[in-house]
């Protein structure tokens, strides 16, 4: 029987394309700890100590292989003058886009992420988790990619209008976002995160034209990846990576998370031995799962992508919805322990 590995060793094995003791998994429970601690979502996300405690509790109850210091997307828009709207039953959202005039972009300078209250809180969380967990449990940081930030900085319509009518303005914003993403990623690494996950739905050719992505988007992502002085993973947050997956796999990311609509087996075949595949679970449908559905989903994902390492079972969208019950999360965790132990002999049956 394989000796039980620590979470960092288990993830390390997967990222090295080795089979550890079992398939590693991570559920992005950024909101659920509030419920466990009896706090509102706003109070929870505003208190770094509560987030540290919440992440540790979820790690203890689920037994998953990482924690996260990521708070919410709206925090990054605050860096550009945006507002955060808290909800009682879901993640905070961004308010009215802050950059609505060309002159605002022409004047824009790269914000210092350490001076943005929400981002500074996230750094405090990272330091707190590092102090409690040391090197045994990986801490995942996160940021929104340079191509996707304009959706919340400008609004999606204005983003595409300007891409058509004033492309140089958009290029200028992308360059500022690149520098911001690098600074924000490095600040998180300095605070103790083990890896940074970039959420970049706009890298999908279902959203931006493939030619534009090849010419300008992928080089921008490469520069961000190279500028961040540590391990970086890329998630398209449910948008299909499609035929760009092989090119994305050449950019130096340690892991890639395509859409839940894409074939895990095909993605694994493309990435095998070079880049780890992350995903396998569609969080948006979890709310009507039974524990049996959860077990089946875990089994199917492991069957499709588990063999040979190089796979981290995770949810594709980047956040487990608030309405998903803890019972289902526990059923996922239990199924990974039952079906994820290497070697995966049962998948040959």
């Amino acid at each position: 029987m394989t000796m039980l590995l620590k979470p960092a060793e288990r993830l390390g094995a997967a990222l090295s394309h080795q089979e550890g003791d079992r398939v590693p998994f991570f559920l992005a429970v950024t909101l659920h700890p509030a419920r466990a601690l009896g706090l509102s979502i706003q109070d929870y996300l505003s208190d770094p100590e509560a987030v540290v405690e919440g992440q540790l509790r979820m790690r203890h109850s689920l037994g998953h292989d990482a924690v996260t210091s990521f708070l919410h997307v709206a925090g990054e828009v605050e860096a550009f003058g945006g507002e955060t709207l808290f909800r009682t039953d879901g993640p905070p959202n961004t308010g009215t886009p802050p950059l609505t005039r060309a002159a605002a972009i022409e004047r824009l300078r790269v914000p210092d992420p350490t001076q943005v209250p929400t981002l500074a809180r996230s750094l405090t969380v990272a330091r707190g988790l590092k102090a409690r967990l040391g090197d045994d449990v990986p801490i995942l940081g996160g940021l929104v990619g340079p191509l996707s930030l304009p959706v919340v900085q400008l609004g999606f319509e204005r983003y595409l209008d300007w891409l058509m009518d004033a492309p140089d303005l958009i290029r200028q914003l992308w360059r500022i976002n690149e520098a911001f993403c690098i600074a924000w990623g490095n600040a998180q690494l300095a605070a103790g995160v083990s890896a940074v996950a970039i959420a970049e739905p706009l890298v999908s050719s279902t959203l931006l034209p493939k030619d534009l992505l090849r010419k300008e988007g992928l080089p921008a992502l490469r520069r961000v990846r190279e500028g961040i002085q540590g391990a970086v993973a890329l998630s398209s947050a449910s948008a299909p990576m499609g035929s760009l997956l092989p090119e994305l796999s050449e950019l130096g990311f340690v892991g890639l998370a395509p859409s839940c609509d894409e074939s895990l087996a095909e993605a694994k075949a493309t990435l095998r031995g070079r880049v780890a595949l992350m995903g396998g679970l569609n969080g948006l449908v979890m709310s009507h799962w039974t524990p049996q559905d959860a077990e089946l989903a875990v089994k199917e994902a492991i069957r499709a992508a588990g063999a040979g390492g190089g796979f981290v079972l995770a949810e594709h969208h980047g956040e487990i919805p608030w309405c998903v019950s803890e019972e289902i999360l526990m059923a996922v965790a239990e199924a990974v322990r039952r079906w994820g132990a290497y070697p995966l002999d049962w998948t040959a049956m």
Binding site: L163, T206, K210
Partner: protein
């Protein structure tokens, strides 16, 4: 009216090339054969539908669908301003975005509907689902179109539907956006009447709804 495949190909190419002059030209050539609404329904709408389908099949980007819709919007506005593109007989229809300020779908849907001669009031971004339902009831809306981006906003459609039913309103609710595309059960879960993944399919969906109401 039958539009030849050549004309349809030209309209599609004009939309993808963002060439308004070329689009005006192919529409003008077909106006000799049909009333304006017919030309929009049989030429421009199918061209936009082709582009929508190509997006569904992963061959085009949403940005291209959006930009093509923007071109159609301009053409429709030109004809509406001239008073030559008449609205159809229809129930009162409005469209709103629930909560999100960074969404694209509303403009795509409105472009498709305006082109088909549907009159749709744009209620913008609404944060209170109960107030949205109350307004729909007060104004005697036949159909309320709701666009969402986040899962949480999509689930709040249940409050809109619940309020409408509590008020005794017969307003049909049509929903759209990524949460409904990625979670096909959600439309039924929130009690909405219908959904579709593609903006260009909304006119046909409304035809069906109006036909059975």
């Amino acid at each position: 009216m039958n539009v030849g495949s050549h004309a349809l190909n030209r309209a599609e190419a004009a939309l993808l090339d963002l060439d308004l002059e070329a689009l005006r030209s192919v529409v003008a050539e077909n106006l000799a054969m049909a009333p304006k609404l017919g030309v929009f329904e049989t030429l421009v709408a199918p061209a936009l539908e082709r582009i929508g389908r190509a997006w569904e099949e992963g061959d085009l980007a949403l940005a291209q669908v959006y930009m093509a819709s923007r071109l159609v919007e301009r053409l429709v506005e030109e004809h509406l301003v001239s008073g030559e593109l008449a609205h159809r007989s229809q129930p009162l229809i409005a469209m709103a975005v629930l909560e999100d300020h960074h969404i694209l779908g509303k403009r795509l849907v409105l472009a498709s509907l305006h082109m088909g001669g549907w009159a749709v009031a744009d209620w913008g971004v609404v944060s209170d689902p109960v107030a949205l339902a109350e307004r729909a009831h007060a104004e005697g809306l036949g159909i309320l179109l709701i666009s969402t981006l986040m899962d949480r906003s999509a689930r709040r459609v249940a409050e809109v539907v619940g309020t409408l039913r509590a008020l005794g309103a017969s307003t049909r609710v049509v929903v759209g956006g990524a949460p409904f595309r990625l979670n096909p059960e959600l439309c039924r879960e929130v009690g909405a009447d219908a959904t579709t993944a593609e903006a260009s399919a909304v006119p046909a969906l409304l035809e069906r709804l109006v036909g059975v109401s």
